[in-house]
């Protein structure tokens, strides 16, 4: 599997997002966002909205129903709550990504790992911090994608975040099919294997259409 962005494409944005940090950016229709898992097995929590009307947003159930499969990979169309395609996954060198497990929060961490864990940093904190710059807030939260995170689901519904399958340098590329506000939390979770117990930086590159 190779990436699809041509080698001579011009990156109009290229930066390393440090571990544990939030990020938000409008990816214009036709532009492509590349996410690089620099260190491997680093969960990248991801939400996307119609940048021109943010009440239209990513819908995990509509996305998995549309393709009849619970994993995000090459060819997956990210559907909105209004039934439109926000972005398309053009390439994926990891293999599959989760959209069942949601984001970690201080509050869910307190339930999952111990009441004292509510003081730890979490993805919902990052999402809310990033959304506020767009005049958005908790009402805008919904179930997200976790790129590079491995959550197998069994026939009986059993579901668990297990050791990752993303090698260092794994890439996903997403083309915006409308002007898309992308919000990312570089997951800070330390209590399960989603980041290999070692949150690491990721690289975010935007290519013009």
């Amino acid at each position: 599997m190779t990436t699809v962005v041509p080698k001579d494409s011009v990156a109009i944005y290229d930066r390393v997002l440090p571990s544990r940090k939030p990020w938000a950016q409008v990816i214009k229709k036709g532009q492509t966002l590349r996410i690089v898992d620099l260190g491997g097995n680093q969960a990248v929590d991801f939400l996307v909205y119609n940048a021109d009307d943010t009440s239209e947003r990513y819908s995990a159930p509509d996305t998995i129903r549309a393709q009849g499969n619970i994993f995000i990979t090459t060819g997956t169309k990210l559907y909105s709550n209004d039934g439109n395609v926000l972005m398309t996954v053009l390439s994926d060198t990891c293999g599959r990504h989760d959209t069942s497990g949601g984001a970690c929060s201080c509050e869910s961490n307190s339930v999952r790992f111990g009441l004292d864990k509510k003081w730890q940093h979490a993805c919902v904190e990052n999402f809310l911090y990033a959304l506020k710059d767009y005049g958005m807030g908790k009402r805008d939260m919904t179930s997200n994608i976790n790129f590079f995170m491995n959550v197998p689901v069994s026939q009986d519904g059993t579901l668990e975040i297990v050791d990752g399958i993303s090698d260092p340098g794994s890439i996903v590329e997403l083309r915006a099919e409308m002007n898309a506000l992308v919000v990312i939390s570089n997951c800070p979770q330390m209590n399960n294997p989603c980041n290999g117990y070692n949150p690491t930086p990721i690289q975010l590159i935007v290519y013009d259409a």
């Binding site: 159930p61 129903r65 039934g83 009441l115 179930s143 959550v151």
Partner: protein
């Protein structure tokens, strides 16, 4: 299922309503009361949203509910978690064990399989129910589906499992907070049937007994103990 468990003392009932096929319904179920949802003629799906009625920005979270309990399908003894680490509902009884947090709700597109006609869908039902409470599109979260079973194959394929509630199946949801519930009595979006024929369901609310020290739901696992610690704390202030 035992007849004794099914019996509700009529003196304790605070609400009893039949919800026709295709209709929506919403109501606040107070902490300490239980909502029984019955499928007298069976069911091919009921979609459900819920919220902390005292703070509507706190919502049922499908992903947290699944990952905290390590299962995306719900049954007796399991809990419905909010996005604030608290318990909205305990499933204190359940005769079918067919409920999923993954499949989402029907909409105009999924109803296209029925052809021309006025076939109500859950997305529009949710919008109408919420708009009447000054809520709206942004408050529609991934929902819970009652009375139907989907399955996830080893490669991740999501398929309809052809298991549905039989006549008389029911689920008891004990409110652990004051919970705003919205129900949409429309078939599951993955329902294989091309015949749109949702059957009536019955919703009974009653003042149920206080949980005992060994309550199944409250003591199910360490996560439940912590979830209830968070929940009870909300009512201490």
């Amino acid at each position: 299922m035992s007849k004794a468990q099914a019996f509700i003392d009529p003196a304790l009932i605070t609400g009893d309503e039949v919800i026709p096929g295709g209709a929506y319904w919403s109501r606040v179920i107070k902490r300490g009361t239980t909502l029984r949802i019955i499928a007298p003629s069976g069911s091919r799906g009921v979609s459900m949203l819920c919220y902390n009625a005292d703070n509507l920005i706190e919502r049922y979270n499908a992903a947290d509910t699944a990952k905290i309990q390590f299962n995306a399908f719900l049954k007796k003894g399991m809990l419905l978690y909010s996005d604030m680490g608290r318990v909205l509902f305990s499933i204190t009884e359940d005769t079918c064990g067919l409920h999923d947090t993954l499949g989402g709700c029907s909409n105009l597109a999924t109803n296209a399989k029925y052809g021309e006609g006025d076939y109500k869908n859950s997305r529009d039902n949710f919008m109408l129910a919420l708009t009447k409470r000054n809520m709206g599109k942004k408050d529609i979260m991934p929902n819970l589906n009652l009375f139907t079973r989907i399955k996830v194959e080893p490669n991740g394929n999501l398929v309809w499992a052809e298991k549905i509630a039989k006549p008389g199946d029911y689920i008891d949801l004990r409110a652990e907070m004051n919970v705003l519930v919205v129900l949409s009595n429309c078939p599951h979006p993955l329902d294989s049937s091309l015949n749109y024929d949702p059957q009536p369901i019955q919703a009974i609310a009653w003042n149920s007994p206080l949980p005992t020290a060994d309550d199944l739901c409250r003591t199910a696992n360490p996560e439940a103990l912590r979830g209830f610690e968070n929940t009870d704390d909300f009512f201490k202030v």
